[in-house]
Symmetry: C2
Subunit: 292 residues, 2 copies
């Protein structure tokens, strides 16, 4: 597997430390609510690439003011973590493994897993309200809530669940993954730019980058489901066999070419920034090259 | 059953109309995401007393400026509705009936029910960010997120789930219900006061009122589970038989006395407002008298 650029691993460490403080460990094990806090931390702090949070930080850095990006990077990771808990539940994908470990509901039971998901979504908004001045908090809350809502994660996951065992056309498949993945990637890039006071043009370019990167990320996920091993992906192999995926649609070679094409398009969107966007370009190269 | 005061039914109509606009019906049935929107509306618009939202409106009215209370009243109802979906799921209380109708997961399936719950919590925050100026939006988001979070609904529900089949002491039972019910009632009263520019003293008195009212409401719920019929409660009777409740703790007469006592305490907290608090007093009388 291609190794991560150094700036990426440094950002990941910064994010992991901030997430650890966002949902602190219960003071006393066995205290009331300690199980649900443990389950939240189990998901939030699991080994992960934290690509969305890295996109927030790099977008803010690109706009010249990285110092205020970390809280919303954490909020977006918490939203993503909560969506993973839901995705893996028995009534959804019924997945045994995630990020190389047993899924939350297999460890803590379904009820606590569900409350942990709920709690993580809620902490995301709580964190925004507490970390930013009111105008920025309201703007970021609105941005994240749009990404989670009825043209975002919730809608994408609902359509995905109902589409299991059905044959989809490419348009529907693309819409599902835009909502399930692309929209939160775009929100991450926009959020980074907003915390840094980026211009409308900055936001537009970064959103175009992130939208394509998010879709590429999903195409690679579909590929890894077919050609990856559980050791590489942290998930059970061939778990998506009952679903229409980019691979079932375009074949392994077609999906690989699509991922490369999307990453090229992502990088092209950053042309106005010139060499300053090098790190986001490297990130796109890394996504395209994950075990490809 | 005691009939509702007229101002109560008028408020309920206002709230129902606003909730209908908060999550509009999908434009085309069968369109993507229409099922999850239907499930959200099924819960949000079900016949209900909407006590929490009425508390928001009456608290704002008491503080002299009712005109800005409606959006946060709707947000709090959406939060409450989302918590009911979770409570009723098979992995939680596994309830067949709610508000006189089959529970959401029995109609739409577990996956869509879960996404509807998630979507409703998310819409609550989206609605706050879009309906208020930034300082008030951030303040109300923080207030609601505290009420949902790790000293609120999520924590109370987690402890409640883990306590099924266990014998609880009174302190634990009281903590669970303070978090499951009292905290959101308090947030409702505080939110109403904040939208009306209420003073710190107003907020303190209203919070004391709502905390006691919320607990009384829960005690009456426990009583109705034992002595009510499904026609009266909209829920299956004796559903809580495996749980420690205020009735299993204090008996029917003891619980009835406790509910009256809590409502008296609630009303006393409003003494500084004098006659202006008459409606909130009437609301407490109504809660205490529900089929008692």
């Amino acid at each position: 597997m291609r190794s991560l650029p150094a700036f990426f691993t440094e950002s990941q460490d910064t994010i992991a430390r901030a997430l650890d403080l966002m949902v602190p460990a219960p003071e006393t094990q066995g205290a009331s609510a300690s199980q649900v806090i443990d389950a939240m931390r189990y998901t939030l702090l699991a080994p992960s690439k934290r690509v969305r949070a890295v996109v927030v930080l790099l977008a803010a850095d690109l706009c010249g003011h990285p110092s205020r990006a970390l809280p919303v990077a954490c909020a977006i990771e918490a939203i993503h973590a909560s969506s993973l808990i839901l995705d893996d539940l028995p009534c959804m994908d019924d997945a045994p493994l995630r990020r190389g470990r047993p899924t939350v509901h297999t460890v803590y039971g379904e009820a606590i897993a569900l409350l942990a998901a709920f709690g993580l979504l809620n902490e995301a908004y709580r964190h925004l309200a507490r970390s930013y001045d009111a105008p920025l908090a309201a703007r970021l809350t609105s941005l994240c809530a749009d990404a989670v809502g009825l043209d975002g994660l919730v809608a994408g996951q609902a359509e995905d669940v109902l589409a299991t065992d059905a044959t989809l056309n490419f348009e529907t498949l693309e819409r599902i993954h835009r909502r399930k993945t692309g929209v939160l990637f775009s929100a991450a890039a926009t959020a980074g730019a907003l915390t840094a006071g980026g211009s409308a043009a900055d936001v537009a370019a970064l959103t175009a980058y992130a939208k394509n990167l998010g879709l590429a990320f999903q195409v690679v996920d579909d590929l890894l489901d077919v050609i990856g091993t559980p050791e590489e992906t942290g998930k059970a192999a061939r778990h998506d066999a009952r679903k229409t995926t980019f691979v079932s649609f375009s074949g392994v070679d077609g999906a690989r070419e699509l991922a490369h094409e999307l990453c090229r398009t992502a990088t092209l969107a950053l042309a106005p920034f010139g060499q300053r966007a090098a790190r986001l370009g490297e990130l796109a190269d890394f996504v395209a090259a994950r075990r490809l």
